[in-house]
């Protein structure tokens, strides 16, 4: 019950297609100029067969991503669960304490991606996410002193095109743009202390944004054994969904260094600077009829978003000429959140990419 699974963390993470898919030239080359543009690394991946299946232009990706949140931040100040939990008779109710407090939040994303490289300059992708999230809570409500809420299902499907703006022997620029279709539910319900039976769950437990959103990114990448990439991207959202809110826009600047250990193994170090807006509007069904209408921090649209600096360590290997497996572990180095807001503890991703 915290950071919208379908929004900031996961949906943004599928933006950078160079991470999700390979940025190498898998399409069949024919002209001298096309062969001249291949780096040594790319040459290693190209089949010597005249009509290789590996160069059909199709590739697919399976990704499993896990993020865990634990503890609270308001700005950069750490808060304990006791400080966020409102206990009547011992303290005054304020906008910063709540009768219901999420403690540990886990978010899992299983993502299936399919890419078609139409030409060396154009790539088209569709990604279908399956989202699963679970949140442990404590509260002062009788019979709900500790409880867990889960939600799962298909998230928002992304359609994206990537265009190669510029390219030379060792470096290239890509521009990506697309649309996220609101296929993920925003009507997930569960048993919360708000009332008996099932009620509408907070923003974070929903599976989609409910709006048509527009991801974009600009990627610069070198192709050497010491390859380096920088990217800037984000998700722009417009309008409001059927529940009268719009998740915040988010933006990310990333830098990634990739070092080729040998022809089959590489390691990487990446840094992401992330900014996320608050939620605009609000779902009235999440409120309670009190002077402070938010039973938990995650029901307050203003307690979303903030800034983060996340570092990621990665390991990638070629299982065969057609399959690549990568593992990435990340940890925030800095978080400045509109809080009280649960803070990210760590994240991990396992990914298999195959050319067809």
């Amino acid at each position: 019950m915290n950071k919208p699974l379908s929004t900031p963390t996961f949906r943004f993470s599928i933006l950078s297609f160079c991470t999700l898919f390979s940025c190498s030239n898998v399409l069949a080359q024919t002209t001298p100029s096309e062969f001249a543009e291949l780096s040594l690394q790319e040459l290693f991946s190209i089949s010597t067969e005249e009509q290789s299946e590996a160069e059909s232009g199709w590739s697919w990706t399976l990704q499993y991503r896990y993020v865990e949140y634990d503890g609270y931040l308001s700005g950069t100040d750490r808060l304990t669960i006791d400080e966020v939990l409102f206990v009547p008779g011992t303290e005054q109710r304020t906008a910063s304490n709540f009768p219901v407090v999420p403690t540990t939040i886990t978010q899992e994303l299983k993502l299936l991606g399919l890419e078609y490289q139409k030409s060396p300059d154009w790539r088209f992708q569709i990604t279908v996410p399956h989202v699963k999230q679970s949140t442990d809570h404590v509260s002062i409500v009788p019979n709900y002193d500790q409880f867990v809420i889960d939600s799962s299902g298909v998230g928002d499907i992304t359609l994206k095109a990537n265009y190669r703006l510029d390219n030379d022997d060792l470096r290239q620029w890509w521009l990506g743009f697309g649309v996220q279709v609101p296929t993920g539910s925003i009507d997930q319900e569960g048993d919360t202390p708000r009332a008996p039976g099932n009620q509408q769950l907070p923003y974070t437990m929903q599976l989609g944004s409910g709006t048509f959103d527009f991801p974009f990114d600009l990627v610069y990448q070198t192709n050497t054994t010491h390859s380096f990439s920088v990217s800037f991207g984000g998700v722009i959202r417009i309008g409001t969904n059927d529940r009268n809110y719009r998740l915040g826009n988010n933006y990310r600047a990333s830098a990634k260094y990739n070092y080729l250990l040998n022809e089959d193994w590489s390691v990487s170090l990446a840094m992401d600077a992330i900014y996320r807006d608050k939620i605009k509007g609000g779902d009235q069904s999440l409120l309670v009829p009190q002077s402070i209408p938010y039973p938990a921090s995650i029901t307050n649209p203003n307690l979303y978003g903030g800034k983060k600096l996340v570092t990621r360590l990665g390991l990638k290997t070629n299982l065969s000429s057609d399959y690549t497996l990568s593992l990435e572990l990340g940890k925030p180095l800095y978080q400045n959140l509109n809080g009280p807001q649960p803070k990210e503890k760590w994240q991990g991703a396992l990914q298999l990419v195959a050319t067809m």
Binding site: P32, S33, A36, S39, S47, E50, L260, S321
Partner: protein, 159 residues
């Protein structure tokens, strides 16, 4: 007509040969030659191709307008017969006269050719991919600097 001629020439090349051409060009990016007598006055990197007109033509077009190395030198591709100052020579056969003329050149050949035992870089196929071995002895003698990036990708590196 020119376009048609090119297409015909390139179609006669196997994909393996085209990949070799791309490798030959890539090698020039990761190898630095010393300012020796052999290279005095040369302001380009020269790749010589033996007995393969289609590959020569393909590689010529491949390198056109592209500069390599820290000095950003252009690359010239010529027939081995007509060129005596090759920086890189891709050869198929061995004879004494040829080897004498290539004493200061990096010799590249295929692993199944008669020249492979005398070559500095040897192409071979593995799992339907083109790979290469590097023998450093001659290049070290000639003070030719091979980038660690290139060495890292070689299957075998021997002195």
């Amino acid at each position: 007509m020119l376009f048609s001629a090119n297409v015909t020439a390139f179609e006669s090349l196997t994909k393996l040969d085209k990949l070799k051409a791309a490798y030959l060009f890539n090698f020039t990016k990761f190898i630095e030659w010393p300012d020796s007598t052999f290279r005095s006055g040369k302001n380009r990197v020269e790749i010589c191709i033996e007995d393969n007109a289609a590959l020569l033509k393909f590689l010529n077009e491949l390198v056109a307008g592209r500069n390599v190395g820290k000095n950003q030198l252009p690359v010239k591709v010529t027939d081995l017969i007509s060129e005596a100052s090759c920086d890189i020579a891709y050869i198929k056969h061995v004879d004494d006269e040829k080897m004498r003329s290539l004493v200061e050149s990096i010799i590249i050949s295929d692993h199944d050719s008669s020249a492979s035992s005398l070559s500095d870089i040897i192409f071979f196929e593995e799992n339907k991919r083109l790979r290469f071995d590097i023998k450093m002895k001659k290049m070290e003698m000639l003070n030719i600097n091979v980038s660690s990036e290139l060495l890292k990708l070689a299957r075998e590196k021997s002195s």
